[in-house]
Amino acid sequence: MANKLITIQDAVAEYTWDGMMYSHGAGISVGCDSVSFGREMVRQGRKHLHMLTHCCTQQLNLLCAAGAVDKLEIAFTGLEVYGFPNGLRRAVESGKVQIEDYSNLTFGLRLLAGAMNWPFCPTISGFASDQEWRSGFKPDEYPCTTKIPEVTNPFTGKQAHVLAPLKPDMSAIHVTMADPEGNAIMLGSEWCRFELARASKKVVLQAEYIVDTDCMRQFPNLVRIPDFLVDAVVYAPFGAWPQCSTGLYDSDEEHYYYMNNCMKTDEGFMKYKAEYIDSYKTNSEFLAVIGSERAGALKKTATAHLMDPYRKWIMSDEQIDELTKKGGR
């Protein structure tokens, strides 16, 4: 059995680099995202990222506040009911980050086109809006001058619009559970992780639980990311915090607002970095930073029953530690 378990520090060191085209995400602003992976990227000081973020999350907010982002392609830059991301807003309005806007569906179709290795992908939305012709990046960086160009449909002779494919250098994808080889099950909305895992050149999974492969054999229909797409698996409990992970914990209202408030200024970001990024190394230290009382309250989620069928295959921290020590490749 291939064992791909490595630490989050090793995963960031090995699979990310300055200037890369980095993608992440899962749920959108409130749902699960690989936020812990983003914290580690900030700690390791990644710079000049070209982000492919489907919808803004606290990970993107944090990376923008850290000054780690140069370019951003995105469909949604809010934080849903939690408001506007202050780190992103500051970076965009100051001109530090250039934004290329797409819609949720057109962004997903670009990932699908990347996954399929299509030359381009037709769309029935996105055009007739300013997304068709206003470009975040200089128009001369494209071979064509319109972002969503018009072509002639060869079958009908009518006009049609097409999108460019996306192929991220690497994506860090949050999943509910993975086995050590990288087969993964996601509870809740899958959002666009099926396509993202297939469009990306490298994939690192960030899992809330590590389970025995027998779990995958019991529910093979639910394994939407198969092991051979995956380069590494990271065990990261509460890895989406302060966002939610369906079946495990709810979003942390208090910390969500606190974190976003810190992203308003450089000083606030530095304070947050000291408190919630530089303050831990291991999973147990991270859980201590969150606090057991807070974590316990968040785990009282109305979605807890969704985890019931899988519990008997969950590996213990000791088993995972052992596999991680000898794991990797």
Binding site: G27, C55, T77, E93, I99, S103, L105, A128, S189
Partner: protein
């Protein structure tokens, strides 16, 4: 008045969502309007969010997002974004959707992307104010058979020309939208904290159709940034009934619509 303007807006939007329809509900207050309709008069409403969460009834108050645990707790199906916004919405299958707007014009074109100090430019200019981006609203605007635009009524939001068209409405009016081959019919109403506007069938210009019980035609017109025309059949919106308010508040258990005017 024993209800808030936000509650009036949610009820007015919810009244236009009918039983047995397929509806896509977006982030925030529009979600409450949809789930209110389901509780009040549309028990067989088929609801979905763009994250691919189908058939749920929210628990614990306004969901924080379209994928939040508050709607994941009792859904009948979880799929994904492409499924929800593609085959269900952009294809033309969905009956009705609701979108929000930071800025809109008289033809129902919506801006949720940003505010710029200078005129539209194909080359990148940082916005003066960055907004939330389009999300899935362009799919709702292109694909839903009809959709409702919902926004707080502030003069600055209702402008002659939006800074950026995030979601196309009737574009320059008349038949301008027809050439694009969208399966959806375009915006059917704008619901605000003061009124309901509906498009003229020929010019597609939005006109004042109903004003809420606590306001006047003059107040609505003077709070609209474009020269708002008043429909010949203009009337007062009917007051929320006791049953409607009770049903809305059972959905809005955290009181998001009662927090501010």
């Amino acid at each position: 008045m024993d209800y808030t303007k936000q509650e009036m807006m949610a009820i007015a939007a919810g009244r236009e969502i009918y039983d047995k329809e397929l509806a896509i509900l977006g982030v925030g207050l529009s979600m409450l309007a949809g789930y209110f309709a389901k509780k009040d008069h549309a028990p067989n409403l088929k609801d979905l969010t763009e994250s691919g969460i189908y058939g749920s009834t929210p628990v614990g108050g306004l969901p924080w997002g379209v994928e939040d645990n508050r709607i994941a707790a009792n859904a009948t199906s979880f799929t994904n974004m492409i499924d929800a916004l593609g085959p269900m919405v952009a294809s033309g299958r969905c009956d009705v959707g609701i979108i929000g707007a930071a800025q809109m014009d008289k033809f129902g074109n919506v801006n949720t992307t940003g505010m710029w100090a200078e005129p539209a430019n194909p080359r990148y200019v940082p916005p003066k104010t960055r907004l939330a981006g389009s999300g899935g609203a362009p799919e709702i605007a292109s694909g839903c058979k009809r959709y409702i635009i919902m926004a707080a009524h502030e003069k600055k939001r209702f402008v002659d020309k939006v800074d950026y068209i995030s979601s196309p409405g009737f574009l320059t009016g008349g038949t301008a939208r027809d050439g694009y081959g969208f399966p959806g019919g375009g915006p059917c109403m704008i619901v605000t904290t003061l009124c309901i506007m509906r498009p003229d069938p020929d010019t597609r210009e939005f006109m004042l159709s109903e004003y809420h019980p606590y306001t006047t035609i003059d107040e609505v017109v003077s709070n609209t940034g474009w020269a708002l025309k008043v429909s010949a059949n203009v009337k007062m919106t009917s007051e929320p009934s006791a049953k409607e308010l009770e049903n809305l508040r059972e959905v809005d258990t955290t009181g998001m619509l009662r927090k501010k005017e």
